[in-house]
Amino acid sequence: MKPPRVGIIGIGQSEFKARRDDANYPELVREGVTLALADAKRELKDVDAVVYSLAPDALLGIGNAERLGVDAVGARNKRFMRINTGGATGISSVITGWTHIASGECDVVLVAGADKVGESGDSQTILNKIWDPTYERALPLGTITMLAMSAVRAMHKYGLTEEDMARVTVKNRTNAAKNAKAHLRKVVTMQDVMASRYIAWPIKLLDACPQSSGGAAVVMASEKYIKANKLDAVWVSGVGHCSESYYMGDRMGRKIMADHADAHALARSFERSYEMAGIKNPAKQVHVAELYAPFSNTEYHAIEATGVCKLGGSLVMMREGFFDLGGKIPVNPSGGTLCTNAIAVSALVRAAEVALQVWGRAGEHQVKGARVGIASGNGGDHQFFGTMVIES
């Protein structure tokens, strides 16, 4: 049986910044909610269920902050569920919103969250705690060092260079300059990136995402509801998830089933969403992509996981401008996670930005004529992946 069609009817995003001292956490959650409900022309009473997008508690410094945030999403007397798949949290939340509606249980679902990563003293110390205390936590593992090692393997396998990495930052910053919601909007040059200091070789400061604060929300609805209320919508035509095993050291060495250079499980997740959406040839059928990539090097393995080229094939295409705004398939026209990372909602923003693109409402960073878009989120130690296809 084919699940009922699910549409996105409203989108709300803060202007993301390093800090938001004018608003505490629930106030920031409410900001995205208010914008999204207004955009959907709906009121709180119309919402059947709330999916709450919230990554590791310690980034915010509030234990189970959904407890505090429940009021900011108006969830009293409604169905409520918190989702946490690390960096993939936001897209997992939107997909959970889809599930609520596709199951036939709900007609209108609010998916919302916020983050204030800039308030934590040291996000990498917090993220080191996602490694197990038995074998690995004593090492300086964090998301930066973990993905620096992915870059090292991509250098070895495909000839990725530091210049290739810088090229991604230059492209995404150029895009972010056109996006009023983005956090880092200053255009940078190849020289700027190459001259910035190393954080974890080969990742430099300008190859890395910022710690952002802001809220975001989307309102989703069933086709029946959208038609009955004559609402404008874009449509979720495919969703997917896929996971990778725990040990990074198992993604290198002999008899490996996945290489840490690549995003093997992300590719499987995309295959699942393409199958649902009926996409046979993504290189021809996809017009825009918002791919979760918090470090410049990781945009390459994310692109390759979409299936628009083979492993290692994205480097030359990036050099030729294939993924630029104005290129054949623009990747991260919003500037992406590299320019804005409010972790709890970063992957939600990927889906929201794709929705805006296929809706034709992306403003200055609009991809002309985009009708089919894809979004992704990555979480954990390069471990949990979620993907979506959204169409007009």
């Binding site: 004018d22 080191n128 090692m149 393997r153 070789w201 040990y247």
Partner: protein, 162 residues
């Protein structure tokens, strides 16, 4: 208007039980300066660090296998300049999966030169601290043929970031 902030910190102690498999592994590291893996009977893969079960089949692993001390670099990263350190993953001889550890005895002052020395595929040897506490910081890796003497353990706390 004046916007007020509040300082908070989380500092919570834990006393984590490591379980039988990891306890044996760390006792061998501490008492005999020997690294062991566990064999997955179905695939034959030797898992290092050792696990009680296979993540592919969920079947228990069956026997202990001595691995190392030699091995090859599979991944690395390093920070510069303060405090300079390099760490990464090494596939020890006899193992099928790589284990994390620090690299020592490499001049990290020139990023490009250091990266060449730590290139994937480079042979290394495991070195053990004279005084061992039963931690992954009891051992580290040095380029093969550049063996120094045993040294001090890096301690059993996490290394900070910059």
């Amino acid at each position: 208007m004046e916007l007020i902030k509040r300082k908070e910190s989380w500092n919570i102690g834990y006393d984590h039980a490591l379980g039988e498999t990891a306890s044996y592994f760390f006792a061998q590291v501490r008492d005999n300066a020997q690294i062991y893996g566990r064999r997955d009977p179905k695939s034959g893969r030797v898992l290092v660090p050792p696990r009680a079960f296979s993540d592919q089949t969920l079947e228990p692993t069956t026997d202990w296998v001595k691995v190392g001390p030699g091995g090859r670099i599979e991944a690395f990263t390093k920070t510069l300049p303060n405090p300079p350190y390099a760490f990464g993953y090494v596939l020890l001889d006899g193992a099928d999966t790589a284990i994390g550890g620090f690299f020592r005895g490499i001049d990290l002052s020139d990023p490009a030169k250091a990266a060449k020395q730590l290139a994937i595929g480079t042979r290394v040897s495991t070195r053990f601290a004279d005084e061992r506490k039963g931690s992954v910081l009891d051992f580290w890796f040095e380029l093969e043929g550049k063996r120094g003497k045993g040294g001090k353990s890096g301690g059993d706390t996490a290394v900070g970031y910059e």
